[in-house]
Assembly symmetry: C2
Homo-oligomer: 796 residues x 2
């Protein structure tokens, strides 16, 4: 019984078009009446096809139970995305930590005998790891290169980049980032994790990968663009939550940075996904505590706890903190600018020469990175260990093979450490932990920090955009915390107060650089708080972020926007351009010709039109009884291609195809019209049609989007832009100014009460429900009773 | 020079209408041509009036410098709002803490001699405080009763409630909440603080209160609805940030709970305001540390630090935590239901009897509350003090006159304490601190907690909706933490583990009750984390919130939605109703008659139409040269009333009033058309017109909104709803299906590059800029060159 109802619900979600109860039509309807006569009927049918985000609600109009089931499945998928992304993050972290730990322990044990041998081994291991990563990317999953966030942002903004959500991209991203991060390049695994989460979400949404026969029919449930985008949003949040162990930060990242439009229902589900990720990651870490995960231990998942650090701050400190914000804005903007130039140079010259060049490039950078990170500390004189503070015992030098401050590297005496090696010859996670650490004043010399800053900044800029998965979060934190600590050192020596910690300034520096480069605010702030597990510095982080973003904005756009533009992803910014204020809607579509389709069209004509231009949407027109032309809707190129390929809708007669009663035969499954995320979609050149096919006709009426959004020709383009972006549209019709108004919808008209509340009487004299019932009744009795525009035309 | 430019900018922001450069018009234009002839001209003018949110951008189209100035002022106002709200919060907190501290210390010193005298004094002080609050509310600022959040939510959703943002409301809210909270009622000061922040923002936005001559001309800068709403959003965030010292929570509260539509620029400014509040509050607290603020000390601003508590949790604990979530959902939903019944009963019966009844009611509740909170602990047997843990010394009983656990109240021996008095006979802040406290296992007996839960729940339900300012946050936390601690007690005795803290369960209980009642997720989660200063419990809080919200949603709506509905505030929910899926746009405006105005209309007709109905918007029509009717826009009742009142636009001729060149004489200052937030606005009955006036004409063309949003008649109502809500509209025209399409706007058309990037060439073969220039050029050469719909009409 229950399952039957579900079945009915699912059936009804297929491509059916309901006729609205309109008695006038029922009489006039006959099969085969001339097109001119039934033109009017077309006007009041309600077939609504795929493209637009509200269609699902129309489709699923049968059965409340089905809606409940549908919502339940959405939540179940949110759960699966959380678990999947959490597990992927755990896998990547364990692998990276093990590779890196194994690499460092091997190198350390070898340099006890020979520094040369250790040097060569270190270079070799890094090279192998990076090479494997570059090989995977170039030969198997080219879309997995880079961070993936610009592409995901584009996808959620409405622009598909080919291949970003494929199964092979997911695999390439996971294994590629293990190689590139494990290989010690100046990049992070956080951006790729966001992409990984998005891939997992998208693959789940389309029921697995069809290419690799991993798909399940049962899972092919979400075949609308909107549902997929919602899932991908969940995936992004899960990725951030997993990467930083920052569930709230994940939600906010998805909200602020990634999505273009947002509903509170979605927020609620994204929140759930993030919570699941937090639980999964925590469970895995608990499991690893017993030592089952090899080198994976205190490193790995980021929590750079600074709880032992500075608790309070005085007003004089606000000045150096503001300086950090300014530096962050400047260096961040510079980073964006440099990476933009280098990336565009790479794309236009270097990477056009083929995969071999890409691999050589990555290997070269790997060798350089290894040489610098191993070689530079060699030239640095070792410092004597500080006297141990009995309250905060920190071993110096740290015991071999463990994580911690005060690395003994190429030092003569036993009680010495190499400060440059402490940050350079280490995994990035540990380096950051050391930079953030409290109670370690004077651990680093200004010279070392400056050297590291310059070298690492250069490496990060150069590495960005190579053919490996690469995130910018961790390198950004490295750079920022270095100059932050540098400023902190000056503050300590200048203010001579005991409670100032250099680690706090390092944290603020990290926030400032990320703010200056990525230009996020709330989400970044929450992420910083969550990864340092310290709320006390929140106002300071906010302050620094505000300054660095403002400074950065004075120079260029955020990192992701710049990169999106480079990749040719046309993101619609949240703010319309200044020029639009002076423009009208019709100017925006100035010298483009609108291509019209008649309702019933010859197949040959369809083909020739599709070949003659590359528009994606076409207006469909028909004629009313009185011979007037009438726009009946919008048909998409992709739908036309599906129709041409399947051929089932071809007919011999140039007359409309209704089987009576205004309904059309159901020949298509709804999902046929959904472009799979994993392919480029059909092209007109892929379709083979015989001469017989070309002579046939096709009735487009069932396949048009009956009510695309429309704007009058002289509407300000700013308004059009807001409409377009806020609703996530793809096409808007610009129509002439109307000659009459059928009605005006205000807030009251949209307040439909499901249950009568006892108190709503205060608002309206009669219950809204009765009023609505009357109204519906009126509508049912045909158009004659509707106010026909001679309503109250006064004083003419 | 500079100031001149500013002046020009401000001038141009006044009500002017630009003519678009259209050479064809220039020739045809003459003063006094017949209306029929210049009908076409009207079509391409671009006058855009007040109502709609995008208009400001159109208005400020002159001068980029002006835009910069304008943005700067917005930021300055955000700063002022932050400072103002922070100071208001500090003032309220210091006052409340001093009144309460003084009350308790007086009572405690008196009960050393006589419990009866202490009892009477306690009742009397509470009564006086509450009475003063009720007196202020009933006689001075009736709109300041309750929490104010539903009204603010309504305001930001687009519904003005009279008087909520007045200066007197602000004053009433501040002093009223000092009285009601200081008087020990079962309510909080957090909701009122949000309202206070909103009032401050709104008053700043309109340049002070005109009624009390506190306004400044210089400040009257923001006279659009949109800017005011933005400021009020900032104010709400500032209120939460100040109330809980939770800046990020404030931003998220404004985002999730309050606003209906949201832009990332606004988020950025709201974030700034919150940061300012945090700085102000922190500064004030630092200043008070030296003892200058009387009793204001460790209490006051909420930070219920639980950092000494439970750090870890095991899997078995998830079950009792889920149980807490379920209890929270049930009790929260019950709370909403009960308060709804009681409020509606109050509104319909009790409060209709006048202010005296309201005051008597509040006083009665105050006396009952005092009797219960003083009397009940008297019946409770005292418990012996636990043995002191040398690691965590907590004094037992606490020293008199200080804050802390283990209150000695009516106990015989010295080393005893009264557990009911510890939570009941205390300020709410301290009671919560005691409930959250760690290392105090077995402090409370189950019996005491249960007694307290039942009594306080009842008191909170009864107090809700009386004529005093009242927030629900702190009472909710009280209720939740009580049953949370109760569950925690069972967990401690059942699992018999040492690391389980009852305080942690109390925190989860608080989160669950708030989630079950207010149904917020992300913002509540962040607020809970910020007020407890502990991130470790974040995943648990998320879990509990998810469960309690889901359980609560099964029964009824959130507290604020219920209350909004009771108050007759028609909020548009984020999700369209189920019924809308089957409806079309024209059904929603079914039997309403559209009222048309001709472009030039007799004043008498305007008056009679305005009197004959209560529509707020009217369609304005005109005729083209060919005699066709054409809808030229929407005119608002409020604007018509302004025109009728000022009379300056009256003319003797029934012909259009253009002074040539398509421009209209500027007779109005832009701000005249903005309804002040502090008044009900004009009514048609307020306007006195002589018989001469009534015989005159008025040309509406300059005052219509030329391009209101339009939808075709058969668009699905779900789509219409989304359009309406996402863009924050007030009127939508339903128009017939168009007979032709002038153009189609897609993403590419909206991507206008301000600067040519080197890489955009990848996307388009020619630069976007050139293409746009051509396009604009085409538009300038008159309509003849535009694609006239015979474009590509194929296969007809």
């Amino acid at each position: 019984m229950l399952s039957n109802q579900f079945q009915n619900g699912i059936e009804s979600a297929k491509l059916t078009w309901a006729r609205l109860p309109n008695s006038e039509e029922d009489e006039a309807e006959e099969v085969g009446v001339s097109r001119k006569e039934d033109g009017n009927r077309v006007e009041s049918l309600d077939y609504e096809v795929v493209e637009n985000h509200a269609y699902r609600e129309e489709q699923a109009q049968r059965g409340k139970l089905y809606v409940g089931y549908y919502v339940g499945v959405k939540w179940f998928f949110a759960l699966l995305i959380g678990i999947g992304t959490g597990l992927a993050a755990v896998f990547i972290n364990i692998s990276v930590e093990n590779f890196a730990g194994w690499k460092f322990s091997l190198t350390f044990s070898l340099i006890q005998k020979s520094y040369i041998a250790g040097f060569l081994l270190y270079i070799l291991i890094n090279l192998v790891l990076v090479l494997s990563s570059a090989f995977i990317i170039t030969n198997f999953a080219p879309a997995a290169a880079g961070s993936g966030i610009p592409e995901i942002k584009g996808y959620l903004n409405g622009v598909d980049t080919h291949g970003i959500l494929l199964f092979r991209t997911l695999i390439g991203k996971i294994f590629g980032s293990i190689g590139s991060v494990g290989g010690g390049l100046a990049l992070g695994k956080e951006g790729p994790l966001v992409h990984t989460g998005a891939c997992i979400a998208s693959l789940l949404g389309q029921g697995g990968s069809t290419k690799y026969h991993l798909s399940s029919r049962w899972l092919q449930f979400f075949n609308s663009d909107r549902d997929r985008r919602d899932l991908v949003t969940c995936g992004c949040a899960a990725g951030v939550a997993a990467a930083f162990r920052a569930p709230v930060g994940g939600v906010l990242f998805a909200l602020e940075e990634v999505t273009s439009w947002w509903r509170s229902q979605l927020m609620w589900r994204v929140f759930f996904t993030s919570a699941i990720v937090a639980v999964v990651v925590r469970t895995a870490m608990g499991w690893c505590k017993s030592g089952k995960c090899g080198h994976f231990g205190s490193g790995g998942f980021i929590i750079w706890d600074i709880s032992g650090g500075q608790e309070d701050y005085s007003f004089e400190e606000l000045l150096p903190m503001a300086v950090i914000g300014v530096i962050g804005g400047l260096l961040g903007a510079l980073f964006n600018q440099l990476t933009r130039y280098i990336t565009s140079w790479r794309r236009n010259y270097l990477h056009k020469k083929g995969n071999r060049v890409k691999i050589i490039e990555v290997c070269l950078i790997s060798v350089i990175t290894s040489v610098i990170s191993f070689g530079l500390p060699l030239f640095r004189k070792c410092s004597p260990c500080p006297e141990a503070d009995p309250n905060f015992p920190i071993e110096c030098p740290r015991p071999p093979g463990m994580y911690g401050n005060y690395v003994n590297f190429f030092c003569g005496k036993d009680k010495e450490y190499n400060d440059l090696a402490t940050i350079f010859f280490n995994t990035q996670d540990d380096a950051i932990r050391n930079l953030f650490s409290a109670k370690t004043i004077h651990e680093y010399s200004a010279q070392s920090l400056l050297t590291f800053l310059v070298m690492f900044y250069t490496l990060a800029v150069v590495t960005f955009g190579t053919a490996v998965p690469a995130g910018q979060f961790v390198p950004g934190i490295m750079i920022g915390s270095t100059y932050g600590r540098l400023v902190g050192m000056f503050v300590v020596s200048f203010y001579k107060k005991l409670n100032i910690e250099e680690g706090t300034y390092a944290l603020l520096g990290a926030a400032s650089f990320l703010g200056g480069s990525m230009r996020m605010t709330v989400s970044l702030c929450v992420i910083m708080v969550e990864i340092t597990n310290n709320l006390k510095l929140l106002p300071l982080i906010m302050l620094v972020l505000l300054i660095s973003k403002a400074v950065g904005d004075a120079f260029n756009e955020g990192l992701y926007e710049e990169q999106s533009r480079l990749r040719g992803i046309p993101l619609l910014e949240s703010r319309p351009k200044y020029e639009m204020r002076k423009m009208q809607a019709k100017e925006a579509c100035g010298n483009q010709k609108v291509v019209y389709f008649p309702r019933v069209i010859k197949v040959a004509d369809v083909v020739s039109i599709l070949k003659s231009n590359n528009h994606n949407g076409f207006a469909v027109i028909d004629h009313t009884r009185s011979g007037e032309t009438l726009v009946i809707g919008l048909v998409l190129r992709s739908h036309l291609l599906v129709l041409l390929q399947s051929k089932v809708d071809f007919q011999h007669s140039p007359l409309p195809s209704d089987t009576g009663g205004g309904s059309f035969p159901i020949r298509h499954n709804f999902s046929e019209f959904v472009k799979p995320a994993s392919s480029k979609g059909l092209s007109i050149h892929d379709i083979r049609l015989g001469p017989d096919d070309l002579e046939m006709y096709i009735d487009l009426a069932p396949f048009v989007n009956r009510s695309p959004y429309i704007v009058p020709e002289d509407m300000s383009l700013t308004k059009v832009y807001n409409l377009f972006r806020q609703l996530g549209l793809r096409h808007i019709f610009v129509v002439p100014r109307a000659s009459r108004v059928i009605g005006m919808i205000t807030r009251k008209d949209l307040l439909i009460e499901e249950n009568e509340g006892p108190a709503t009487v205060e608002l309206q004299s009669t219950s809204v429900r009765d009023w609505l019932r009357n109204r519906r009744h009126a509508a049912r009795n045909g158009e004659a009773e509707l106010p026909l525009l001679n309503g109250l035309l006064v004083a003419q």
